[in-house]
């Protein structure tokens, strides 16, 4: 029945009502006119009148939490104004404002039933009107709900997109920071290496000249021979020294000074023969002193060589001069990395199985970052004496596999899929100066080289990283 | 405890020495004298070879005398014809002998002085007039050291002065002989300075204790009147010797004289107590109050005011008091059993002149105390000298007081070896001197000391004592 009540019907009903009002003087008194922007009632009022809009437009508005108001509904002629509040007796949820000059029928609290009863001709149209009003409001509500739903969905989708965009931004930011860091580090290293190289080579050269000077005229006499022996002596462990000190006390019972005994303990048997053969002519202390001098110069040589080697690998390790990929042997990079990290690797059992692999076009400096990341992570979890294995091999003709595995605790299964995610860490952040800046960057570097990286836990415990790189030749 | 050969020998000789007289029958010596001889031999062996610490020997001596020689002991429960046993209180009483109390007073004052840095601050002030010329600095150091060690222990004074001179030694050139001179000046001055007052060093206490057994009281001031002129000459000689032997290379040295007197209430109480006590000690002859009684006043006063605490009292060197008491105690029975008389009688003393005897005693004391503790030397020699003097066999001029002084003073003149006195050991351990330096200078001072002591014994002391 209600379905048939369309807009056309409403017009008819309205004109019927208009006519009836015009014809019935009694009803004339119900007609009220409002000027534009007049307020019929306010939000929160209890309504004592119900209006039927006969002409003009009325806006229903509602206040938001921030006290600004928005329009809820526009009412056209034929609409009741305040129908909900009037019928339920609750406070009005909206404020009704006239938009233009309007004409309404105003019913008091008890008038409505009275007029309906007095004018049977009005009963049916008004009831129809009221029903259609209610239906329309419900329809609006349904529409609103469905719009809200769509809106929420769109919002969610947009949020996801935003998140993704942010993540990408964050990633590239991190990468930039990392690159910046590496660039700065590279510059530092290059400058530092240059500065250290000079004194290191000076040390090396000077000690060689010193040795030559020392030996020039004395290589045949006992003092010179002792010096030579000192030069050739390898440093002894303290256990060896202790054991030899006991032998010295037996062999040279006439020596009682403990520091002299210790020095004698570091001299070879050949030196003892020299000492025994000439000790009547040359005091033992002088002979031992010569040996000690040789030993210290030898120490200088060893140490300066070590500095020079460290500097060399540090330089090639950082490779900041390299922007383009070059055709290189990746194993050189691995060896440099190991040298640079020797401080961390000192107390691990390092097993190297670097099989012949073809040269390939890579950015060695970036790859070194990857090795560093993985090795440093392993060092962090391995106890002293833990085992670390690095192996290279070819996979068919066009791929190289680098395998880095340890015998540490392995990676918890629930984390194994996440370790290449940016910002993933199980360590306290900021605790270490970052040579290794996250596996995410390693992953990215390998990806840019056209390879991939894979991690797994070995059956017998420990983590295994496998990196596959394609062989590219120019 | 590790025992070396010397100590083992001391232990065996001491025990044999104690037992043997029981099995001998020495003519002219009473049975009690035999017992006393045993104790004396044990004490001598133990004190000289030190199988046990010397203070332990001292209390052992007191106990042995009580057990074997007192009326309450095992052997002499009643008076016999040859021996009237002493009450055990006579031996125990030595632990509270007036000289012990006098020393106690000195200890408390010295301990408090160290606690409030009075010694160090006094040193800084007293050194100021001596300028910066090395030889006068050395003189200044010696004067101050001598002065302090007259009232404090020689060893504590030396340790304190080392903190003053080591910074000087460090800034000197390695080869500068002044280093040696400086390092030797302190122990020498401390040894000599100790002679100046009754509380300066334990041998003085042995002398005063032994004389008090003979009924002779030497007031504090009188001792100083007898000793100070000798100390001054000896100090000047030592100074002269050192700057001649180790001529300084530098013209001027600087000493850090900065430092402030502690002005806390307690410190001021101490300064007043120190000053007044010394004043009353020195003036004993005028007011007649015995120095041992005066010595109790600062002890009481400083403990009442809390300047000296329970911890400070525990830190006092009680073993030195035992050492002196043991010596006094030994003297009692040596005399009462007739042992001393017998020893004196067994040698033909009259063959020597009085002066020869003084020279011999002085020389023996210097020689012995170079190798033994000064106190032990005095303890072992004085009973002998006392008997000799009281028996009159040594003739005129061998006055009881004078011979005791000769031994007491000579015992402090030993400074030849690092082991001669603790101050010498401290100076030696700084590593700036060699034994031969110390021996060279120490022998000269020893010889000069003997001459000086004998000269005073002949000319000055008799004058004063009459």
């Amino acid at each position: 029945m209600l379905k048939g009540f369309q807009k056309a019907d409403r017009k008819e009903v309205l004109s019927l009502i208009n006519r009836t009002v015009d014809e019935t003087p009694e009803l004339q008194s119900l007609v009220v006119h409002f000027n534009p922007k007049d307020i019929l009632f306010k939000e929160g009022d209890t309504l004592s009148y119900l209006y039927l809009l006969l002409d003009g437009t009325v806006s229903l508005s509602h206040k938001k939490e921030d006290l600004s108001s928005f329009e809820v509904l526009k009412l056209q002629p034929g609409h009741f104004i305040g129908i909900v509040a009037f019928n339920t007796g609750n406070n009005s949820l909206t404020t009704a404002t006239s938009i233009e000059k309007i004409k309404t029928l105003r019913f008091g609290q008890d008038d409505f039933e009275k007029y309906l009863n007095q004018h049977p001709s009005l009963r049916s149209p008004l009831q129809q009107l009221m029903m259609s009003n209610m239906t329309e409001r419900f329809k609006v509500n349904l529409e609103l709900e469905s719009r809200l739903h769509t809106l929420n969905h769109t919002l969610e989708e947009e949020g996801d997109e935003l998140k993704e965009a942010y993540q990408q931004l964050e990633d590239s930011h991190q990468k930039l920071v990392h690159q910046e860091k590496m660039a700065t580090l590279g510059e530092l290293v290059a400058g530092f290496a240059h500065e250290v190289n000079n004194p290191a080579s000076s040390l090396l050269r000077s000690s060689e000249s010193l040795i030559a000077n020392f030996l020039e005229h004395s290589d045949k006499n006992p003092l010179g021979q002792m010096f030579q022996l000192g030069l050739e002596s390898a440093p002894l462990s303290s256990t060896e020294i202790r054991a030899r000190m006991i032998q010295v006390q037996k062999r040279f019972p006439w020596v009682s000074e403990r520091s002299l005994i210790r020095k004698l303990a570091q001299i070879s048997d050949k030196g003892y023969e020299i000492i025994e053969s000439v000790r009547k002519k040359i005091p033992v202390k002088s002979l031992v002193q010569q040996h000690e001098a040789g030993k210290f110069i030898h120490n200088i040589q060893l140490s300066s060589e070590r500095i020079a080697n460290l500097v060399k690998s540090l330089k090639s390790y950082s490779r900041q001069d390299q922007n383009e990929a070059e055709e290189v042997d990746i194993r050189n990079g691995i060896n440099d990395t190991i040298l640079v990290l020797s401080n961390r690797l000192k107390f691990l059992n390092l097993e190297l199985d670097l099989k012949e692999i073809p040269k390939t076009q890579v950015k060695l400096g970036e790859l070194n970052q990857v090795w560093t990341n993985i090795i440093v992570n392993a060092c962090d979890v391995l106890p002293n004496g833990g085992a670390l294995k690095i192996a290279t091999k070819t996979e068919g003709e066009h791929a190289i596999i680098i395998e880095i595995s340890d015998n540490g605790p392995g990676i918890p299964e629930q984390l194994i899929d996440r370790i290449f995610e940016p910002n993933f860490t199980t360590k306290n952040q900021g605790a270490k100066f970052g040579l290794g800046l996250g596996l995410a960057i390693s992953n990215e570097i390998i990806r840019q080289h056209g390879g991939f990286i894979r991690v797994s836990n070995k059956k017998d415990g420990g983590a295994k990283f496998e990196i596959l790189l394609p062989v590219k030749n120019s | 405890m590790k025992v070396n050969k010397k100590q083992l020998a001391g232990l065996i000789i001491g025990i044999i020495g104690l037992i043997i007289p029981f099995f001998l029958n020495i003519e002219g010596l009473s049975y009690a004298g035999h017992v006393a001889l045993g104790i004396f031999l044990l004490a001598a062996a133990f004190w000289m070879l030190e199988p046990v610490p010397i203070y332990a020997t001292s209390v052992l001596v007191i106990l042995l005398q009580i057990l074997l020689l007192s009326k309450e002991g095992f052997i002499f429960t009643s008076v016999t014809e040859s021996y009237i046993p002493d009450a055990y209180t006579a031996f125990i009483g030595t632990l509270a002998n007036p000289i012990i109390i006098l020393f106690l007073g000195g200890f408390v004052l010295a301990d408090a002085a160290v606690k409030y840095n009075l010694d160090k601050n006094l040193t800084r002030i007293l050194l100021r007039p001596f300028g910066s010329q090395p030889k006068f600095i050395v003189l200044g150091l010696m004067v101050v050291t001598g002065l302090l060690s007259a009232f404090m222990s020689n060893t504590a004074t030396t340790a304190m002065m080392m903190t003053v001179i080591i910074p000087i030694i460090v800034q000197l050139d390695k080869a500068d002989p002044l280093k040696i001179g400086l390092a030797l000046s302190i122990p020498f001055a401390a040894n000599i300075g100790g002679i100046a007052t009754p509380i300066g060093t334990p041998p003085n206490a042995v002398v005063i204790g032994a004389l008090s057994q003979q009924g002779i009281n030497i007031p504090f001031g009188e001792w100083m009147a007898l000793a100070v002129p000798l100390v001054v000459i000896a100090l000047l000689f030592a100074w002269f010797l050192l700057i001649r032997m180790f001529k300084p290379d530098t013209d001027s040295i600087s000493i850090d004289m900065s430092g402030k007197f502690n002005t806390s209430k307690n410190a001021i109480i101490l300064y007043v107590a120190f000053g007044l006590t010394v004043l009353f000690w020195v003036t004993e002859s005028f007011h007649g109050v015995k120095s041992a009684i005066i010595a109790l006043v600062p002890v009481v006063f400083l403990t009442l005011t809390g300047v000296v605490t329970k911890e400070d009292i525990r830190k006092l060197p009680w073993e030195v008091l035992w050492l002196v008491a043991g010596g006094i105690s030994l003297g009692i029975s040596m005399k009462s059993t007739g042992l001393a008389e017998w020893i004196v009688g067994s040698i033909e003393w009259s063959a020597f002149g009085a002066i020869t005897l003084l020279v011999v005693f002085s020389a023996v004391a210097v020689l012995m105390s170079n190798f033994l503790s000064n106190t032990v030397t005095a303890t072992l020699l004085i009973p002998l000298a006392v008997s000799l003097a009281t028996s009159g066999v040594a003739g005129e001029g061998f006055n009881l007081i004078i011979v005791s002084l000769v031994i007491g003073v000579s015992a402090s003149m030993a400074m030849m070896l690092p082991i001669s006195t603790p101050p010498n050991a401290i100076a030696m351990s700084t590593g700036t001197i060699e034994t031969k330096d110390m021996a060279k200078a120490g022998i000269s001072i020893g010889v000069f000391g003997i001459v000086l002591v004998v000269l005073y014994a002949i000319f000055y002391w008799p004058l004063m004592l009459n």
Partner: protein, 165 residues
């Protein structure tokens, strides 16, 4: 032989050990030196020293060592009463703040010498630490005055109520 006070040096790099012992040479007359390349060896040496009735006055210990690290070793010693007065010094270039704080709090670390060290500074630390040890243990300072800080030892003597005898 008399009771000996040892200096124990723990350092794994042999060249560095050589240099450390060279700088300690002047002390060896008074304080015999023992060395160890790792803490296992150090424990062995420590036990030998104490079994023969001697003791350790000063431990100079590197931090980064094979096996147990220096700080943990010092902490393990701290639980033994006989080492409470032993002076403990870290000689290292590599102990981070965290480890150092741990050593100070749990091992009573007395000093920290960063590498590279200078002979003068190094010897000064050794002198100071051993002087503290001698004073703390109330040993007769005379034997040590020539090697260590004579002024402080004399000062300690002064406060210890010395006597003539």
């Amino acid at each position: 032989m008399d009771h000996q006070i040892y200096i124990l040096v723990i350092e794994d790099e042999l060249e560095v050990m050589d240099a450390l012992i060279k700088d300690l040479e002047e002390f060896e007359q008074t304080f015999p030196i023992e060395s160890a390349n790792n803490t296992d060896e150090a424990n062995l040496v420590v036990n030998q020293i104490y079994e023969s009735g001697n003791e350790i006055g000063l431990i100079l210990c590197d931090h980064v060592l094979p096996g147990e690290n220096g700080v943990d070793f010092l902490i393990s010693l701290e639980s033994r009463k006989e080492f409470h007065k032993t002076r403990k010094v870290l000689v290292t270039g590599q102990a981070g703040l965290e480890d150092t704080v741990k050593a100070i709090n749990n091992a009573n670390l007395n000093h920290y010498i960063p590498k590279p060290w200078t002979k003068e500074g190094f010897q000064k630390v050794v002198v100071n630490q051993l002087t503290d040890f001698i004073i703390d243990k109330k040993y007769n300072p005379l034997k040590f005055m020539a090697t260590l800080d004579a002024v402080r030892l004399a000062e300690a003597m002064r406060n210890n109520t010395l006597t003539d005898n």
